[in-house]
């Protein structure tokens, strides 16, 4: 076994031959066994024929190998017509590469006695030799074998096919056969399964009214394989098997931040979302989840990043149009091809089909940013359990692809605190933004809360989300009595704050003016006093010099008088006694300070 698995990848030596069916080659670790028979079994409509034909077409188209398709159940024309719905380009496949043999017995054919496949195999051998076919598909072999009505004969014919394949060295042979739901097989499958080297079981079952397709490899001789049951879906490219995700989470964490849509929200998130992270926006209908999602998408496109916007049950056109009312312009990005919008229907499609469709879209568009609005739509039809698993797988897948993903989810819970979503994605989302209505004073206002944001600081405040023709914005926060004010209350508070500011301003202006006036007044007074001082100094100086002159002249006069009147002393005495009172009277006129100054002046002299 190990030897087979480790066989070198030489084209000849490889024990397996790829089917080209996405997911199946991973499950089977390389495809179907080379030069062996593979049995595909399952109920009607379980996808056996599509698998077989798709494998054959892939071989013809991708590897230029030729093949023969033997159709026992439907006419070749029907099969080709059915396959036209897939974009395999079947019509373009040349006839000499892919031959359909109509092996459907017409109802008019009468059976009388036993028949065998030797003639058919002879014809096939001739045809295969003619076109160089290396592949053969027997589709619906059970239909023919049951006509034998004899288990021994059936076994004999199966042996005949096996021997024929061995002798003719067919590269790969696929036999499809029906089993009914109850397990009562038409053909002896126990024997058939023993004989073939690979058995793949297909199943189609209903889960809550939605068809689920499953595939399981039940036997693979000489090889390891993923033994579980895996979802299958059918898209335009044909069958896709949802191979298991890696068990180990191997995501590269990025510290790079990308905008969540607008600046204030980024601020609340501590700088934006981490690239490659997942964000969940929850809220009841009408809380503008789509608007935030649209803003995120627009911001991504403005950064020049490829973006995929997936919506459900609402046309992409309508969403783009609606978003223009809040100034979110997606159309230019749609035109440039940067943005791809896809709108899916949720009715009658299982969650797994949605997942596979999304995978296909991601492969096709290669987005860096992805929006799904709402992800909860996938749980609309079909089982919730499956939808949960799908939602989780989807987010992990997006992370593996390093896509920054933003999903919205509607929570229909009656209680406003019911923030947990049915899908339980809140557990694996990195950032969880919750939108709600706050009803107070007869108003409904949108509130935004960041419930969690892994690995980053984030605001713990409830903020009001306002939608205007300028786009979504988060209002300034006013708290009163422990609550954030919103709507009219906020507006009133804002107005009040504005009025207060105006009042404060005018009060200030007034006081400022008064103080300026007072200052000017004081300055004027100081100037006045200084002028007075100057004047007095001048006056004093003038007075002092005048007094000196008087003192000198009076003593000179006395001497002169004495000299003249040396004989008459009495007269002299009278005149002398008159002098001092006249002098003191002059001093009194100069006032107190004058007297003091005069004293000093006298001392100086």
């Amino acid at each position: 076994m190990a030897g087979l698995k480790k066989a070198p990848a030489q084209a000849q030596a490889s024990p397996k031959i790829a089917t080209g069916i996405q997911g199946f080659d991973e499950l089977s670790q390389g495809g179907l066994p080379r030069q062996r028979i593979s049995l595909l079994k399952g109920g009607p409509g379980s996808g056996k024929t599509v698998f077989a034909l798709q494998t054959l077409v892939n071989a013809v188209r991708d590897r230029q190998e030729a093949g023969v398709f033997v159709a026992f159940e439907e006419s070749a024309r029907q099969i080709v017509a059915n396959a036209i719905g897939f974009d395999w380009g079947l019509a373009a496949v040349p006839k000499h590469k892919l031959f359909f043999m109509d092996a459907q017995l017409s109802p008019e054919v009468v059976q009388s006695g036993e028949f065998d496949l030797s003639g058919m195999l002879a014809m096939l051998k001739a045809k295969m030799g003619e076109i160089g076919a290396r592949w053969i598909v027997f589709d619906g072999l059970d239909v023919l074998l049951t006509l034998l009505r004899d288990p021994a004969a059936e076994m004999r014919e199966i042996y005949r096919i096996r021997d024929w394949l061995a002798v003719n060295q067919v590269e790969a042979a696929i036999i499809t056969a029906k089993v009914d739901g109850a397990g009562a097989d038409f053909v002896n499958y126990g024997f058939m399964e023993f004989m073939v080297d690979c058995v793949v079981r297909f199943e189609r079952r209903l889960d809550c009214g939605v068809a689920l397709h499953r595939i399981q490899i039940t036997k693979y001789r000489g090889s390891d394989f993923a033994a579980g049951e895996y979802p299958v879906s059918f898209g335009s490219g044909g069958m896709i098997v949802d191979a298991p995700e890696r068990t180990e989470i191997q995501q590269v964490a990025s510290a790079e931040r990308v905008s969540a849509g607008f600046e204030r929200l980024d601020t609340m998130l501590g700088g934006g979302l981490f690239r490659g992270s997942s964000t969940l926006i929850t809220g009841v209908p009408g809380t503008s989840k789509t608007t935030l999602a649209g803003k995120f998408a627009e911001a991504a496109c403005q950064r020049g990043e490829r973006t995929l916007f997936v919506s459900f049950d609402e046309s992409a056109e309508r969403i783009a149009l609606n978003l223009t009312s809040v100034s979110i312009q997606l159309k230019p990005h749609l035109k440039s091809g940067l943005l791809k919008m896809y709108s899916g229907r949720t009715e009658s499609i299982s969650a797994e089909d949605h997942l596979l469709k999304l995978k296909a879209l991601i492969r096709e568009h290669r987005p860096q940013c992805l929006v799904i609005d709402p992800l909860s739509a996938i749980a609309k039809s079909g089982g919730l359990q499956a939808a949960r698993a799908v939602a989780n797988r989807f987010i992990y897948m997006a992370k593996d692809e390093k896509i920054t993903v933003l999903v919205t989810a509607i929570n229909d819970g009656a209680e406003p605190e019911g923030e947990a979503t049915d899908l339980q994605i809140s557990m694996i989302a990195d950032t969880w933004i919750h939108l709600s209505y706050l009803i107070r004073n007869g108003e409904r206002n949108r509130a935004l809360t960041i419930i969690k944001s892994r690995g980053t600081w984030h605001s713990n405040q409830v903020r009001e989300l306002i939608l205007s023709d300028a786009g979504p914005m988060l209002a300034d926060v006013y708290t009163a009595g422990g609550e954030v004010l919103m709507g009219t209350l906020r507006w009133e508070k804002e107005e009040e704050e504005k009025a207060k500011a105006v009042q404060r301003r005018s009060e200030f202006d007034l006081k400022h003016g008064a103080l300026e006036l007072a200052e000017a007044d004081t300055r004027a007074r100081i100037k006045d006093l200084e002028q007075g001082l100057q004047r007095q100094r001048l006056e004093l100086a003038t007075y002092s010099s005048g007094n000196e002159a008087r003192i000198v002249s009076s003593s000179d006069r006395e001497k002169e008088l004495r000299r003249i009147r040396s004989a008459d002393l009495t007269t002299l005495e009278t005149a002398d006694s008159l002098g001092p009172p006249a002098r003191s009277g002059a001093l009194n006129g100069a006032g107190k300070s004058g007297q003091k100054l005069k004293v000093e002046a006298r001392n100086d002299s």
Binding site: D102, L105, Q111, G113, F115, G119, A122
Partner: protein, 113 residues
């Protein structure tokens, strides 16, 4: 095996509507395959017994003429095709159920042994 044509035998006109034209038959076989060998024997017996002088039988070996068989919509062997008169018919198997073969070929059941 070479195609054998209209072997006639003892005159014994079939009961029922007169057959104005020949019954043209073509049997596809695989030489040596047991079912094919049986089919040839069974058919010859039926023809000898019920279509004396009124049939034309061609036996074709699919291994020798695969394309011919493919073109004529042969799926399994042995396969008997009634080409004319109308309505045409097709019978698969070793033709062991004589009544069934006769009904399919439009030969009225024999009135006696």
């Amino acid at each position: 095996m070479t195609p054998e044509n209209g072997r006639s035998s003892k005159a014994r006109p079939p009961a029922g509507p007169p057959t104005t034209s020949m019954v043209v038959l073509c049997l596809y076989v695989v030489d040596q395959a047991p079912n094919s060998v049986q089919a040839v024997a069974n058919l010859e017996a039926i023809c000898q017994r019920h279509l004396k002088g009124k049939f034309k039988l061609e036996i074709i070996d699919v291994i020798e003429f695969p394309q011919h068989a493919l073109d004529n919509g042969v799926i399994v062997t042995p396969c008997l095709a009634k080409l004319s008169p109308s309505p045409t018919a097709r019978i698969i198997g070793n033709l062991s159920d004589t009544d069934k073969v006769m009904r399919a070929l439009g030969i009225p059941a024999a009135s006696g042994p």
